[in-house]
């Protein structure tokens, strides 16, 4: 193997460099930019060496470059023991090796390194497009592998034929690979590996500051996708995806944790397992519908999960890292750094009639005091507090009070995505008495404030509301634009009850969903929003999302459980012999066409017409017991036959003449070519042969 064309052709180096650059390109998201530059420089250097313009770098120089680039990498990537540094090191090796690309061995090593680098980009992004791109990289790398097998001595295949060959190999390998993917069991992690923890936190945050955002951005990237069991389809108004509960208010911001105990991050009381089970009993009323659904949550970088109202972690879920807090929110022990799927059950009508403890009552009715310039505690949002007290005095009944507040919102408040900024210190007063326009945040925040002022325990719940059903209603897509905040109030005898003040202002926001509402609201929101509203674009977005969802559900999320059920469904069982049979079937499905192509009996070339005539003659005279001897000429044979059968003597002599003229005669005229002449003569000969009389 080493004796085959050790020297590389320039074209080979170009192909390989292209493949390597292609493999590295998507990694630039994760890796410092200078790595690509380094690769290009190394490649350029190599080309110059091959053209004898530059010399091979000295050993010391190479060593220096290695050390410097390693140092740069260590500086560029903060965490040395992270996934990024592992991939970075791999990429660095590949790009530095290009300079040493001299022999076939180096070339092959680089092809393999390229495969590894290209595969590692899937650790960071596993969308359909990136996978397709990786397949493309693998294709080019295998093309390099194919080219490495051609000796420079021999006229190489045309590039088109090389491409075709690799294409054929890939197309034949794909079905086998798919079956292997379906049936080969997954083992699961063998050892602890550094995960890609360095993800940006996106989506709903764990704090809510009223009026901090002047304009709500319309982000249509998916937040989560939900598949309901058994064709359940809750109405849009029921779809409150509750994520995080914000009980603490400091005058400006609602937050998950009390500001003072930020040192204790898990300041949320957790429910023990038996209490979780108890939650079920509250909901088990005759009217309750249980919704079972599977959620695929996009990367959030945070720990909490989104569920409909108050959910119970499905008993079949084996994930023990999930915990449920006393406020019913569910969280995972580690942040969600890659797409995460979970299965939960929810009861939509739900009453937890337990009394609030004094401490809880205090937390949920607490209103902030802030320090004024002179150092005295001064209350902010005085008007709002006064409003709360007024309402309390007017309506001793909590429900009547809430209804009055909602009616107030309904009368002279409006829903807008562009509410403008609010005065930072007395934002709630500013909103309630001056601007009177805003979106969910404003309504939820101010409602909770007024209710607390009126002495009703209230808190903010943040998450998503609604979602879009896929074209075949198989799943619900929730986008970032569906982000929502609402209020939960505690009513004696009813427990915590959801109160969405936005419905009072813009009921269509809840009934139709954010996208339609925004479409109705805005005609001047800018191009992007308008583009998103165009039905065609929306259709496309939905169908593309469907592809993505199915991809994530069936390919990325394909695990042992799914594998088991799918194989069972396909084969009627998961015995080893069934799987073996399936593999055998697919392999033979690939092999059979190839074998047929190779072994298909090819039609033999038709023998010349004269030879056919000769066979006829042989057959005929066999009836006369005359057989052609080995090495006997035709004339001799005919003479012999004439001796045996005197009757046919004339015919035999005529046959002899005809055969002679057929074999050695010339074309009668210029018009008749050789082929048609022989055909004509052989027809005459056939006629003569027929005349031979056999007893």
């Amino acid at each position: 193997m080493n004796n085959r064309g050790a020297k590389l052709r320039p074209a080979d180096i170009n192909w390989l460099a292209t493949a390597l650059l292609l493999a590295m390109l998507p990694l630039l998201n994760e890796l410092p930019w200078w790595m690509l530059t380094l690769t290009v420089v190394m490649y350029g250097w190599r080309v110059q060496i091959n053209r004898k313009k530059l010399l091979n770098p000295h050993k010391l120089l190479k060593f220096a470059v290695l050390i410097i680039s390693m140092g740069l990498l260590a500086v560029s990537i903060q965490n040395i023991f992270s996934l990024q540094s592992f991939v970075g090191l791999l990429t660095l090796t590949a790009s530095l090796k290009i300079i040493e690309l001299e022999q076939r061995r180096d070339y092959l090593l680089l092809v393999f390194l390229g495969c590894f680098v290209s595969a590692s980009q899937l650790l960071f992004d596993n969308s359909v497009l990136v996978f397709g791109y990786t397949l493309g990289c693998f294709f080019v790398l295998h093309l390099c592998l194919l080219r490495a097998n051609f000796s420079p001595l021999v006229s190489a295949l045309l590039p088109a034929r090389e491409l075709r060959k690799v294409m054929v190999i890939f197309l034949q390998a794909l079905p086998i690979a798919m079956v292997l993917f379906l049936v080969v069991p997954r083992i699961g992690g063998l050892w602890q590996v550094p995960l890609n923890t360095d993800v940006a936190k996106t989506g709903v945050s764990d704090s809510l500051t009223m009026g901090s955002i002047g304009l709500l951005s319309q982000d249509y990237s998916p937040a989560m996708r939900v598949t309901f069991a058994a064709q359940q389809k809750p109405s849009n108004a029921e779809l409150y995806w509750r994520g995080v509960v914000l009980p603490y208010f400091d005058g400006r911001t609602w937050s998950r944790q009390a500001p003072q105990d930020s040192a204790q991050p898990a300041g949320i009381k957790l429910l023990a397992k038996p209490q979780q089970l108890q939650l079920n009993s509250f909901a088990k009323q005759a009217t309750s519908t249980k919704y079972s659904y599977q959620v695929m949550l996009e990367v959030t970088g945070r720990r909490w999960l989104y569920v409909l109202n108050t959910a119970v972690i499905a008993p079949q879920s084996s994930d023990w890292s999930l915990t449920q807090a006393a406020n019913y929110s569910i969280a995972r022990s580690t942040p969600i750094v890659e797409r995460y799927q979970y299965q939960v059950d929810s009861y939509l009508d739900y009453t937890d009639t337990r009394e609030l403890s004094a401490a809880q009552y205090q937390i949920y009715t607490q209103l902030p005091d802030s320090l004024d310039a002179s150092g005295n505690t001064a209350a902010t949002n005085i008007k709002s507090r006064a409003l709360g007290r007024q309402l309390r005095a007017k309506y001793p009944e909590s429900q009547a009070l809430i209804a009055a507040l909602m009616a107030r919102f309904n009368q002279d408040f409006s829903y807008t995505l562009n509410p403008g900024k609010l005065e930072s210190k007395n934002a709630i007063d500013d909103f309630l008495f001056t601007t009177k326009q805003g979106y969910c945040e404003h309504f939820a925040s101010s409602s909770a404030f007024v209710l607390r002022a009126a002495g009703i325990p209230a808190r903010i719940a943040a998450g998503y509301q609604g979602g879009q059903w896929s074209s075949d209603s198989s799943y619900l897509l929730v986008t970032q634009a569906d982000a929502h905040a609402w209020v939960e109030v505690w009513l004696a005898g009813k427990g915590w009850v959801r109160l969405d003040p936005t419905t009072a202002v813009a009921p269509e926001r809840i009934e139709l969903g954010s996208t339609s509402l925004i479409a109705a609201l805005n005609t001047n929101m800018g191009f992007v929003v308008q583009l998103n509203q165009l039905s065609l674009v929306r259709e496309f977005r939905l169908s593309w999302d469907k592809v993505n969802y199915q991809w994530h559900r069936w390919v990325i999320g394909y695990d042992n459980q799914l594998q088991f059920s799918l194989v069972k469904k396909l084969l009627g069982g998961v015995d080893a012999w069934r799987i073996g049979l399936l593999i055998l079937l697919v392999v033979s499905a690939v092999l059979l066409p190839i074998l047929l192509m190779v072994y298909w009996p090819r039609r033999k070339a038709r023998p010349a017409p004269l030879l056919i005539s000769l066979q006829k003659l042989d057959k005929k005279i066999a009836g006369l017991k005359v057989y052609r001897r080995k090495g006997e000429t035709l004339a001799a044979l005919l003479d012999r036959a004439s001796l045996v059968s005197q009757v046919n003597k004339g015919i035999f002599s005529m046959l002899g003449d005809k055969l002679n003229s057929a074999l050695y005669g010339v074309a009668a005229s210029q018009l008749t070519d050789e082929v048609s002449r022989t055909r004509k003569v052989s027809l005459e000969i056939d006629a003569l042969i027929k005349k031979i009389k056999v007893n």
């Binding site: 092959l108 295998h142 190999i169």
Partner: protein, 335 residues
């Protein structure tokens, strides 16, 4: 019997092959003579697959696992591609010309491709073979280059070791096509006999003299006379006779072509006799005789050959010369 392990292995292998794969002058490559096994590169490829599998498994990344299965399937599929690349190729021997022992015999082989097949990147060389305890190194690898033809004829040089009928070593035909992950090969015994004449060695003057005197009736030292090139009489030249015997001087005078008749040529024809080298090893005698035959033939002289059990009558010319050399080459070894 102090053979190294390698030699023993090679010897065992060639015995095994000799039994299983008899010599034929035409071979078609098919499943019963083709072998296939992953190459070193293929081993590295499997290692890459394993590393990718570890990466995919540890990170629970289905896509990397999928890629890993794709590579595995590519390896599987390329087994077929590698096999079918060689399958159907036909090798046949052509008649090769005779050589003197120690010279390179050029074995001419004809490769014919199966219809519609390209048979890319096929490497051909001699298989290393054990011969009388020494391992012959495989020859230079040659690569088939079809250049859009359906048959290719190639010459494969091989060193001849002993006189007689020489059969070339086994031929290795191998290919790593398409991806180099697998090596498909076959080892064929090609029936392509080459006649190897004894290696010509000049004997010393005495022996040659004695050989000539022994053969002729009247003892005469021709060696001294040949230099003088005395001729006794002239005969008219007939077409076909050696041109260098024409007496050009007489032609100039008479315009008639005369032939010079050398005395020793007319008197006693040269006879090469096996018995004229008493006490000399049989192989060496053949080598001396071979040298003599070459020399006499170059002088276009008439000579005969006498070997135990084989006599070739007086004659001259290319055909006679070949006949003599054949007789020397095929002389039985242990006489």
């Amino acid at each position: 019997m102090h053979l190294s392990i390698k030699q023993r292995l090679v010897s065992y292998k060639s015995n095994f092959l000799a039994q299983r794969r008899p010599r034929k002058n035409q071979h078609r490559l098919k499943q019963n003579n083709l072998f296939i096994f992953p190459s070193i590169l293929g081993g590295c490829y499997l290692l890459l697959i394993m590393l990718l599998w570890l990466l995919g498994t540890n990170y629970d990344n289905n896509l990397i696992l999928g890629l890993c299965y794709l590579l595995l399937s590519i390896m599987l599929v390329s087994i077929l591609h590698c096999y079918f690349n060689l399958q159907g190729l036909q090798v046949s021997s052509c008649k090769s010309s005779a050589v003197f022992c120690g010279e390179l015999a050029m074995i001419k082989l004809k490769f014919e491709r199966a219809s519609l097949k390209t048979h890319s990147s096929i490497e051909v060389n001699w298989h290393s073979q054990e011969h009388n305890g020494t391992v012959q190194e495989p020859g230079q690898v040659q690569i088939l280059d079809w250049q859009n033809r359906s048959t290719v004829e190639m010459l494969f040089p091989v060193v001849t070791i002993s006189r007689g009928i020489f059969q070339p070593p086994r031929l290795t035909i191998k290919s790593y096509y398409p991806l180099g992950l697998l090596r498909c090969w076959c080892v064929l015994a090609i029936d392509s006999p080459v006649i190897v004449y004894p290696k010509p060695i000049a004997g010393n003057a005495h022996q040659i003299a004695s050989s000539v005197s022994n053969s002729s009736a009247k003892p005469r030292d021709t060696q001294t006379h040949t230099a003088e090139r005395e001729y006794q009489d002239l005969q008219t030249y007939r077409e076909g006779e050696p041109v260098n015997q024409i007496a050009w001087k007489h032609y100039a005078r008479t315009e008639v072509l005369y032939k010079k008749n050398y005395a020793y040529l007319t008197g006693d024809h040269c006879s090469l006799n096996w018995h004229s080298y008493p006490g000399i090893a049989s192989e060496l005698r053949l080598q001396y005789l071979c040298h003599q035959a070459i020399k006499l033939s170059a002088l276009r002289q008439v000579f005969s050959l006498e070997l135990p059990g084989c006599t070739i009558a007086m004659a001259s010319g290319e055909e006679h010369y070949r006949k003599v050399l054949h007789a020397l080459a095929l002389f039985p070894e242990n006489v």
